[in-house]
């Protein structure tokens, strides 16, 4: 259950230029978090900056009561966090939000990471390995440059297949990680047949039994969603990032347009909304912090 905890920072390590991994002592968060959830960290003891900063849970070590965050120093909040020393305590609220659905039957799992979007996907990879076996998992990770590639060693340590792309072709495949995803999906057998020499672990797997999990820049995830839809993959989940004020579902600040399959907004009273015809019944806003941050890609109105 979410709560407020004072967590001691064990250490902070720069794992790539301007990217830090922070390990904290937090037994409850380590034990209760699921992949895709986040915590809200108070980076300042003063009122400026006032708000907490949300970070996805990067890794957990429940046996030792430790969890980790992975973040890029991008503004005042992350700059302040970077300078908090080992041994100091920070106030952490969590675990928050809804995480990834790991599925309830065997499948081919593809993790698509863009830049620091790899942060929650390391935890996810860990959980998928534990549930379904590492052989069923492929990680595709993209970064702008070789220096910015993060978590490669962690992913490889699981024994999963790993494909790396860099925008500037300085390492791995030269191009976008979404192109790697397209190529990978094309290599999968069509429905009902298993291709010769297929890399698919599960012989029952086809493109229709593929589960995709993604986190990264908005434009990348929109492209992942399009590719998955057109390829007919069975499940594509994305973890969204928005500016948050509360992180608790209170303020309604971090909203995302979501398709109204049940016409939740605008038809509560039944029938067409004549009082406020401006209300749209095709979509409504959901809170990224409380209804997400993980959404089914097909539910999102991509803009």
């Amino acid at each position: 259950m979410k709560s407020v905890y004072d967590c001691e920072i064990i250490d902070q390590t720069e794992v790539a230029p301007n990217v830090y991994r922070t390990r904290l002592i937090g037994p409850q968060i380590a034990r209760e978090s699921v992949p895709g959830q986040f915590v809200n960290v108070q980076v300042s003891r003063t009122t400026d900056p006032l708000l907490r900063r949300p970070f996805s849970v990067h890794a957990v070590d429940p046996a030792n009561g430790i969890f980790s965050l992975l973040y890029v120093v991008i503004g005042r909040g992350t700059e302040l966090l970077r300078h908090i020393r080992a041994g100091e305590k920070v106030s952490v609220v969590g675990p928050l939000g809804r995480g990834f659905d790991l599925g309830d039957s065997p499948a081919t799992h593809i993790i698509v990471a863009g830049g620091c979007g790899a942060a929650p996907l390391h935890f996810l990879c860990d959980a998928l390995c534990a549930k379904w076996g590492c052989e069923s998992i492929t990680v595709l990770a993209g970064a702008q440059t070789k220096d910015a590639v993060i978590c490669e060693a962690e992913f490889r340590a699981h024994g999963v297949q790993v494909g790396i792309s860099t925008d500037d072709a300085s390492y791995g495949y030269g191009g976008f990680v979404t192109q790697l995803l397209e190529q990978y999906l094309r290599s999968l057998p069509a429905a009902g047949r298993v291709g010769e020499g297929s890399r698919i672990h599960d012989p029952q797997s086809t493109v229709h039994n593929v589960r995709v999990y993604s986190c990264g820049p908005h434009a990348m995830m929109r492209e992942v969603a399009r590719i998955c839809r057109e390829a007919g993959v069975s499940s594509c989940q994305v973890s969204l990032e928005k500016n948050m004020a509360c992180g608790l579902g209170l303020c309604m600040g971090c909203i995302q347009k979501v398709k109204s399959r049940k016409s939740k907004v605008g038809s509560a009273a039944g029938g067409p909304n004549t009082r406020h015809p401006v209300l749209n019944t095709q979509w409504h806003y959901e809170r990224v912090c409380a209804d997400g941050p993980v959404f089914n890609a097909e539910d999102i109105i991509w803009e």
Binding site: V4, L50, C246, I255
Partner: protein, 321 residues
């Protein structure tokens, strides 16, 4: 970690102990077990906060602004952090009155805490209808008339910026309900006292103030507004001195109870509002920063009274000199 159960926060729980000061206050016919509620729009409908503490510990819960029909709210981005504050332009996204009655109030009825419903409309008729339909709903203790939201283009603040507009809405609500009526005032006016008086003359049992200050923020590199709505309402500790001044001025001029709010982060902040003339306070943006803020403030007020050997919180209301 979490809430310390040994720190009593409710005057009622330990009312047998003569050393425990009385914390209960009355706002109209609403009996609050302590003088702390939460500001509308910073606490949802309680559901998300029930993991953090027993909601019965609060003096009252003031829920998110509710309209007759669902409102979709404004586009993203809706919030931006500023120096010791937050600008928001949510636009009163809410699921409407039917959802409040059928989905949200049943949850809140589990708790021993008065519920104040913040009502919002595009027209006087909508406010009147909301008041009428909520009048006999089980579990509603009072109505807070929101004529001060700066983020809705039609209605709302349009009424709250003139004494006449304020009086018209308050009269319409008063005529349709026997519940305690609280009018929430905007600071975005030249003379808040004249509007406060108009609300009281029109039948408001109490006043709450202040709502957020209209402001904006700009990205200097992109030369673009940071909020999709361009302007938003400023809350947080940045506004506390102005809020406190307005509460003091209004308290000097009216004879109804005031719920004071604006940047309260600590018990000391809350006590400032009480001695300025508020009978109760609302904790708002602080809920975002520290989910335990409201109950910690209740404990802090109790500790303050004990330390100062004051037996009843009402004794300090309006005592600033």
């Amino acid at each position: 970690m979490g809430v310390n159960p040994n720190r009593g926060v409710s005057g009622f729980e330990r009312s047998g102990n003569p050393e425990t000061p009385n914390l209960s206050v009355e706002i109209g016919r609403i009996l609050m077990k302590n003088p702390v509620t939460v500001a509308s729009g910073t606490f949802g409908f309680g559901l998300e906060m029930a993991d953090f503490y027993d909601l019965s510990r609060l003096g009252a819960i003031t829920v998110k602004g509710t309209s007759l029909e669902p409102w979709q709210g404004n586009a993203y981005p809706r919030t931006v952090e500023t120096a010791s504050g937050v600008l928001n332009a949510i636009g009163l996204q809410n699921d409407g009155l039917e959802s409040l009655i059928s989905d949200k109030l049943p949850f809140l009825r589990q708790f021993d805490v008065p519920v104040i419903v913040n009502i919002v409309g595009h027209s006087v008729e909508e406010y009147a209808e909301l008041a009428g339909r909520l009048d006999k709903v089980e579990g509603v203790a009072g109505l807070e008339i929101n004529i001060s939201c700066p983020n809705v283009k039609q209605g709302c603040l349009v009424f709250g910026t003139t004494p006449e507009g304020t009086a018209e809405v308050v009269r319409a609500v008063r005529a349709n309900t026997s519940l305690t009526v609280i009018t929430k005032l905007s600071p975005n006016v030249t003379d808040v006292v004249s509007i406060a008086k108009a609300a009281v003359d029109a039948g408001s049992d109490a006043l709450s103030l202040i709502n957020t200050f209209l402001g904006t923020a700009i990205d200097p590199y992109k030369r673009k507004f940071r909020l999709a709505n361009i302007t938003g309402g400023l809350s947080g500790p940045a506004i506390k001195p102005i809020a406190l001044r307005m509460v003091y001025e209004v308290a000097q001029s009216v004879n109804v109870p005031i719920i004071g709010m604006g940047g309260i982060m600590t018990a000391a902040d809350a006590i400032e509002f009480l001695v300025a003339g508020a009978s109760a306070v609302a904790v708002g943006t602080a809920n975002f920063v520290n989910p335990l803020a409201a109950v910690e403030i209740i404990s802090g007020i109790e500790d303050y009274l004990a330390k100062m050997k004051i037996t009843d919180v009402n004794e300090i209301v309006g005592t600033v000199t």
